[in-house]
């Protein structure tokens, strides 16, 4: 009964609805990283959980500010004297207030999950439950931060407390971005850590859960305590959990670990093998036809590749695959036009360049790839993603193309294979192959 009253009359509804509105507003009004890459928030379950946590980066300051405002209520309403004459224990008295705020922010986050989840259910083919603990930690974080705000609001009942706390939270959150392990003390993730091929390490999840429970317990304790001794005792949960959490998290290299289920291959073997990862299993039908056409075209090469396989990442730990496999990356885009898909597979469009720093080396790679693809398709066309070439590059491409066509027909396949090997697999010296420096 009292809980219902508090749910209606305290800051709880504002906190819950405000959280939902601001979050959904941010997600839809700005085209941020949450809509791109392999795990957009509305297309993959793990993306939903992790991107909504990334977003909390910006909503947490408002939550703690509203919590502080709630903590001010008793002082501003001057109910202290009247409540001192009641028999109920202070912690019992605080339960409905704290509970209402906790319920409200949880409901707000659940609403956000529903908004995203409805879309993910329609879009994703890779279903798993690994995202649930990730989302649960966010709930603990929201409740913990709200309670901490209430506690500090009670401790320092000045009108200045809510804005100071809100700004401090935003500053702290912004300060720990891109600094490594301190970010793990907040519920947010760095954008590169959010992919469909990884999930959050269980140890990190458990440790963060402990951390936020400690924060929540301290917040509730501060909200209830009135004497200095009890206030100091209230700081214990946070201090104790910090003792465990900080050493554990500071040793963590990366909060995400590879998800073997997502990386498992789903293959179509009616013909030359075409595989995608389970995470993108619904793309296989689109990929199969054009991939096999590309493989057929590549039959002109000596020892042609025999399969097309999706590789999970094109990041730092990319290793060129064996010679008979053509890698495909579905990280950032998955075209639907068959001709485009064929071109991508043929030209190795998303394969990382061997040495990205040296612009000359990149130019050589692009030239080699363009020429090699042109020989396979029979016409000179720009690579997908490299439509705008400088005059220098266009001239170079023409030169090498002429040189290649000038070679005797028996030598051309070997030369093209060597070009492809050097440009795609980083095996060989492009400078000599291209003839001119």
């Amino acid at each position: 009964m009292i809980l219902r009253t508090e749910l209606r009359r305290s800051t709880a509804p504002v906190a819950g609805i405000g959280f939902l509105v601001v979050s959904v507003g941010l997600l839809y009004s700005l085209s941020g990283p949450w809509g791109k890459r392999t795990a957009p928030w509305d297309e993959q379950w793990i993306g939903l959980a992790q991107w909504t946590r990334y977003l909390a980066l910006f909503v947490l300051p408002l939550v703690i500010g509203v919590g502080a405002w709630q903590g001010l209520r008793d002082k501003r309403s001057k109910v202290g004297e009247l409540f001192a004459t009641t028999p109920v224990a202070p912690w019992r008295r605080a339960l409905p207030t704290a509970g209402a705020l906790a319920l409200a922010v949880t409901a707000g986050y659940a609403g956000l999950l529903v908004v995203g989840g409805v879309q993910v259910a329609g879009n994703a083919s890779y279903f798993h439950l690994k995202w649930v603990p990730v989302a649960a930690v966010m709930v603990l974080a929201l409740v913990g931060i709200a309670l901490l705000g209430m506690g500090i609001g009670r401790l320092v009942p000045s009108l200045v407390t809510p804005p100071v706390l809100a700004v401090a939270a935003l500053v702290a959150q912004a300060a720990v971005l891109q600094t490594g392990w301190p970010l793990l003390l907040t519920p947010a993730f760095e954008a590169p850590d959010i992919t469909v091929f990884t999930s959050v390490a269980t140890s990190v999840t458990l440790t963060q859960a402990l951390w936020f429970i400690g924060i929540g317990a301290t917040g509730f304790g501060l909200f209830v305590a009135s004497r200095t001794t009890t206030r100091l005792t209230a700081l214990l949960p946070m201090a104790l959990s910090a003792l465990v959490v900080v050493p554990t998290l500071s040793g963590v290299d990366s909060p995400v670990v590879a998800d073997p289920d997502a990386r498992a291959l789903v293959c179509d073997d009616d013909g030359p093998r075409v595989c995608v990862t389970r995470a993108h299993a619904d793309y296989l039908p689109t990929l199969v036809g054009p991939a096999r056409e590309a493989l057929a075209l590549m039959g002109k090469l000596p020892s042609p590749p025999t399969s097309v396989v999706e590789m999970p990442s094109q990041g730092v730990d990319y290793r060129p695959p064996p010679r008979d496999v053509v890698p495909v990356f579905l990280d950032t885009w998955s075209p639907t036009d068959p001709a485009k898909i064929r071109m991508t597979v043929l030209s190795g469009a998303d394969v990382p360049v061997c040495d990205e720093e040296d612009w000359d080396a990149v130019t050589r790679v692009i030239v080699a790839r363009t020429v090699a693809t042109a020989w396979l398709t029979g016409e000179l066309a720009p690579l997908p993603g490299w439509q705008y070439l400088s005059e220098d590059e266009s001239t170079k491409i023409q030169q090498v193309w002429q040189a290649l066509q000038a070679l005797p027909a028996a030598e051309q396949p070997a030369r093209v294979a060597a070009l492809r090997d050097a440009a795609l697999n980083c095996r060989g010296d492009l400078t000599t192959l291209l003839g001119t420096p």
Partner: protein, 187 residues
Amino acid sequence: MRWLLLYLRSRQVAAGTGTALACAVGVALLTGDNPTRQLMFAVLTTTAVTAVTATGLAGVDPALERTAALRWWWRRAAHVVAIGGLAVVLGVAVGPPVDTEVVVRGAVGLAGLAALGATVLGGGLAWCVPMVWTVVAVSALLASQPPAGPLLTWLVQPPDTTAATVAAGGLGLAGLLVYAIRGPRVQ
């Protein structure tokens, strides 16, 4: 002069300014070298100053103050201008090294938003309005540089972006006028 001193005491300006200064220094200490970070922290400094001093935009009893015989409107306007000025001064003196135009633009817009917050939500909750806007702007900044939608994210646009300056000026003026004419919300 006496009136000014009493007014400053009634609005707890000393405590508010002191806290704002402490916040500004604290933010400045965390900045670092990355220009995006510097822009972000400059914005956060301005937000800190305006949000904290916004609590002084309403006294303890706005209903009582409304009954005063003196003309409030220009005094309220002066208060808002003072908040903006303080944000500029602290931002330039203590804040990260960004273009002064960015600081001034942010101060004008956020002071206006704070005044708007005081009129709509009352003194205690006036900080919500600049805070929400800052949150949106910082999210946009981290999403892409320069951020899209200059009218919405005027806080973090590069200097010399006309749309951003117009937006900031418009919000500043609107907040100033509304607060000067209507005064803080009577609870």
